[in-house]
Symmetry: C2
Subunit: 263 residues, 2 copies
């Protein structure tokens, strides 16, 4: 990418351009860490100065670690239900027990365990995950209240930076009909998570119908391009996206079960 | 956003940063237009110089218009099946007829008509759309072969720019379980659409399991942040995303029906 940068390291920014800026150098996060403080310090070290309207997208994994939302499989006593379900799918009964504790309802058992979490998210394994966790015994759980986690992070980052920044907490979810995982929002603070364009008009002055954009998910997906999976870049700043500040929870994105024929 | 730019209009670009650059000033696209030529000319007018590895995300709507993939409802003769289905849902039977012609199978009739298109995409109304089309009579259809459209665009843009650019053709799709539309890839040329990380290792040297990232959809979603819906910005350049060039069709993202319990 050296060709993209002029010799002075300075380049022209096009109007309307959005930048996705990785925050490098974050350490392995442990329970009790001040995540906002670490993100702010890492950004400063990389000479990244926060600006008003910056959106900081943070991977769920590091939020969960900082909040101690982990489980040690060696300490888990699987219930009879978990044993049965594990046997059917050739799964670790302790892992299934952890997933069931995080779940309000099972949506599908095969080929992956798709559940509705206590928050209402429909996803594989209730977001319980082995990857990017030290050791074989530890799994991470989704934060208990990811919208609250996002608000706490946003408040701390605002205090530290003295800028009006917003926060999205992201996780990678699968989806029916299309293969592969995409990054979606599980927590949000400071942005509109859904942008309702109904009643507004398109460029031909026709009213836009049925157009609600899942902005928070598009922001999470964009940050996902920078985060990758292997690279240890769990915080990305999105700069230049124009929005009206709003206090909307990411749970607002959950489709009400009554409207939904696919669970 | 003026605050983000230094008085000289030059700014430092952080390492690993990705830019989403809108191509402004595209005219209303009509059948037979040279879309690649128009995008290249609009970019040049905006002083945007293409670089190797740039990914140009183009909204399906303008591709369809250039390819003449439109239908005039006033000329459509609805079949008996379309009349019946339209009556059940209070829909325009001519619109339903157009949707059925684009569909291989109906997945759900209510509350929206969800079908599998002839390409295999599962989406509402087979991607047939009224918005951003002049007049009340005209609807756009998805391109007949969006991957081919992407290849043709990429080849033309490479010829014009003398740079190795890739193309994603995007459309906004809804999804079960989550509200709102997100931008997804319906056509691709020059990029890996799915990034298979199975067998690679996370930052703790543990093998990553079940991790296939839907890169093309994340790219489309990122571009969606710039496109909006009202703004008439149907082409966005993504710069700085690192990838191995590949020739993979976006149809590769379609989950095989046999693996899928939700249709």
């Amino acid at each position: 990418m050296a060709k993209n940068v002029s010799t002075s390291g300075l380049r022209r920014r096009s109007p309307g351009c959005i930048e996705l800026i990785p925050v490098p150098g974050l350490p392995e996060i442990r329970e009790g860490n001040d995540l906002a403080g670490l993100i702010f310090a890492a950004a400063r070290k990389a000479r990244i100065v926060f600006e008003d309207a910056d959106i900081v997208v943070v991977a769920q994994k590091v939020v969960s670690k900082a909040e101690g939302r982990i489980a040690r499989l060696s300490t888990v006593e699987p219930s009879g239900g978990a044993m049965q379900l594990a046997a059917k799918g050739g799964r670790d009964p302790r892992l299934v027990e952890v997933i069931l504790r995080e779940s309000g309802r099972i949506v599908r058992e095969h080929p992956v365990l798709i559940v509705e979490t206590h928050h209402g998210f429909v996803c594989a394994n209730a977001g319980v995950d082995h990857s990017n966790v030290p050791g074989d015994d530890v799994v991470t759980l989704l934060p208990k209240d990811p919208d609250r986690s996002a608000r706490v992070l946003a408040e701390a980052l605002r205090r530290l930076s003295q800028k009006r920044v917003a926060v999205v907490i992201s996780d990678t979810f699968g989806r029916p009909w299309r293969l592969g995982l995409t990054n979606v929002a599980v927590g949000a603070a400071g942005i509109p998570v859904l942008l309702d364009l109904r009643g507004s008009r398109d460029r031909n002055s026709k009213p836009l119908q049925a157009t609600i954009l899942a902005i928070a998910d598009d922001l999470a997906a964009a940050a996902g391009l920078v985060m990758g999976k292997r690279e240890g870049l769990p915080a990305v700043i999105i700069r230049g996206y124009k929005y009206r500040p709003a206090q909307e929870p990411a749970t607002k994105i959950i489709r009400p079960a009554g409207e939904d024929l696919f669970r």
